[in-house]
Subunit: 418 residues, 2 copies
């Protein structure tokens, strides 16, 4: 709340600093050096944006304390009690790009989770970042949180040297473009939490409900096409080419989605769609199935009937990004076969890929979405900033007392967690 | 059980192969190229060793199935159900040195956890490794486990190239010397589970019980001095120098432990011990406090009374290896302060550091002890070979239906796990 109040009190000076960033950015945008979407993300004066930042701090305050949660208690022997409990990871390096309001959110998450954090902002938001970070530092000085526990790095070119300091930094969390994530994954000497790509796929099985397919595919593609959880590839069982795909394609074309079709799907759609819609169909190139379009573009591929589920699984495991993939089918058996076969963090059945999100999953806040195979996978909440420690308390016991002939035996009795 | 039965049936050929390894190793040992302890670890014909290997397979079979355990179920909305469940990590690379029997244990753990595994044995156990691995492969061919899911690499120099294949291998588990672990940590492009050092410390507070100190320190040092969880450094509150330390030192010297003391502890012990014992005391060098002796050697350091607990915490966080550290005190408050301050996987109070072990913790089997800050920390059981996935099943819902004016609200209702 100290941070919240300080930011609220200094709104004017923050917006003044932000205006300087915006001015520079507008010039870069005019020169074509900066995309208009980055410009939009940078602007803290947009209606509601500053208040959302303040509300975010209150939301983090309301989250359950993640530190010291006991998830295992075992009596190893009389008076020898083992306990496993959550604790912070240590020092986080959080790197983000244009959105200056993320600094406040991330600082509050680090404090809530009792981690120390080094925050590195993007160069487009330098002035906003400096203003917000100075206010946060001043606010922390009046609290029990050590001021050094949140360090803000504004120096350019500091990222690469930081990524080598594995003796001091335990986890890197990049919040920004795929390029930023990939750069961190390549350079970091410590674990990186996140995902570089979001190439999500939906497979339409032969028994899927047509209306459901229309709803789910249209939402997955058009709700927010630039998001990592938007669908990029549609796999279609060949029996669905004439029964389901035309309605799906019509709805997508009505929303200005470009359809890049393989031969069979283009032929079927050309036959079933009105001529003016059919002329809009594009032909897919091989590269389309490996591309995260992040735009109103969908690649479509047909799967032959005799091995469609297996081919869908193989396609997703080979061309996907292990993020979120979905099957549309009336059969639980088919859904289970699909979900057991794909190697994805999130496996959806009959619902939009867009639901892959920490807020929507009910985690309260989102640190990121991870496609890592260890630590945390899928949408990551505050839990992903925690690890566990073991505490064992005894009455002078030694290990030599146990086992062998006449030695004591471990009881390994499960104890209640409270 | 197929592996168990095949190994039992082919015991003779395995021991014959092992005898070849032993012969070569004995020659290297005579030349001083190989330590006698490696020779001992290599010998599968030692009484009970083969049966232990077979029993280990039965033990793994008895473990609870770790796959598909549901640990979160949430209703996001009517008919939109989220479930988090455990699943295998993917492909493990397990590298081990002299102990040939570990192959069978690790293969069974990989199968139980539904991970694929690439196993790489040490060069000293090449023949044993080949014999056991051929039998395992043949045994798997008669089961539903894909033969390729357990791959055994005998080629020399294969380790470094494998450590670069992060697109295929998800986790490396080195089982062997500190050098092996350090090598993997340095070279691997994927996460490494384990610990390079085990520099464990015990701190004796002023109010500790003398007999308890004697028991715990002697056990921690002498039960198995070559283990990673043996104590290497003893920190002593200056008030305990004359009240507790002499009894501890006497018991250690009686067990042939070399004591490397700082000035104050050496002075106090010289005063309190009999002259013949006092002559055995050594002086510590600075480097001793950074050394994992792995032998009957203990470094002793005195902490001044006015800041002993804080100094102990600082010493452990600076010189320790974040593995297992212990406080001896009658006060729960002091124990908590100590445990909250140290950054160790295992924090012990009034018991031997030797209890840090997967079997002793009741995990049934041990994959290793991790000092990592993410994924798994402390003794790691089968759980450490698992990650989770999210499954969401719906009835055609899209994300655009939610939020905003008139939109649906998420219910985020916690559901029972069963």
């Amino acid at each position: 709340m100290a941070i919240h109040d300080a930011l609220a009190a200094d709104k004017d000076s923050i917006l003044a600093a932000n205006a300087k960033d915006l001015e520079l950015a507008q010039r870069s945008a005019l020169n074509g050096e900066l995309s208009p979407s980055i410009l939009k993300r940078l602007d803290l004066s947009r209606p509601g944006k500053f208040d959302d930042m303040l509300q975010g701090l209150k939301d983090v305050r309301e989250l359950e304390d993640p530190v010291g949660r006991v998830d295992l208690r075992t009596e190893l022997d009389d008076g020898l009690i083992l306990q496993r409990q959550t604790c912070p990871i240590g020092v986080l390096l959080i790197i983000f790009e244009a959105r200056p309001e993320v600094i406040a959110n991330i600082a509050s998450l680090a404090i809530k989770s009792a981690n120390a954090a080094i925050l590195k902002g993007g160069k487009e938001s330098t002035e906003s970042f400096k203003a917000i970070s100075t206010i946060i530092s001043k606010a922390l000085a009046g609290t029990e949180v050590p001021n050094d526990s949140i360090q803000l790095v504004t120096t350019r070119d500091a990222v690469d040297p930081l990524l080598e300091l594995s003796q001091y930094i335990d986890l890197v969390i990049p919040r920004g473009s795929n390029e930023l994530v990939r750069h961190c994954q390549r350079k970091a000497h410590m674990p990186v939490l996140g995902h570089a790509d979001g190439l999500c796929t939906i497979y339409i099985h032969s028994d899927a409900d047509k209306d459901m397919c229309v709803n789910v595919v249209v939402d997955s593609k058009t709700d927010y096409p630039a998001a990592c959880n938007a669908v990029e590839t549609l796999l279609v069982h060949e029996d669905s080419l004439s029964t389901i795909l035309p309605a799906v394609a019509e709805a997508l074309l009505a929303k200005d989605v470009e359809l890049r079709c393989d031969g069979p799907s283009k032929a079927a759609l050309s036959h079933h769609l009105s001529p003016d819609l059919a002329t809009k169909l594009q032909s897919a190139q091989d590269a389309d199935y490996d591309t995260e379009h992040l735009d109103l573009i969908l690649s479509i591929k047909t799967l032959s009937a005799n091995s469609a589920v297996n081919t869908a699984i193989e396609h997703i495991n080979t061309h996907g990004s292990h993020h979120t993939d979905c099957v549309l089918t009336a059969s639980k058996e088919t859904a289970d076969r699909f979900s057991n076969g794909i190697d994805s963090a999130c496996k959806f059945w009959n619902c939009s890929t867009r639901f892959c999100d920490g807020m929507r999953f009910g985690f309260g806040t989102e640190v990121g979405i991870s496609t890592n195979k260890v630590h945390a996978r899928g949408p990551v909440g505050l839990e992903g900033l925690m690890i566990h420690e073991y505490r064992l308390s005894g009455q002078g016991q030694g290990a030599a007392m146990y086992g062998g002939k006449g030695g004591r035996q471990y009881s390994h009795k499960k104890l209640p967690l409270a």
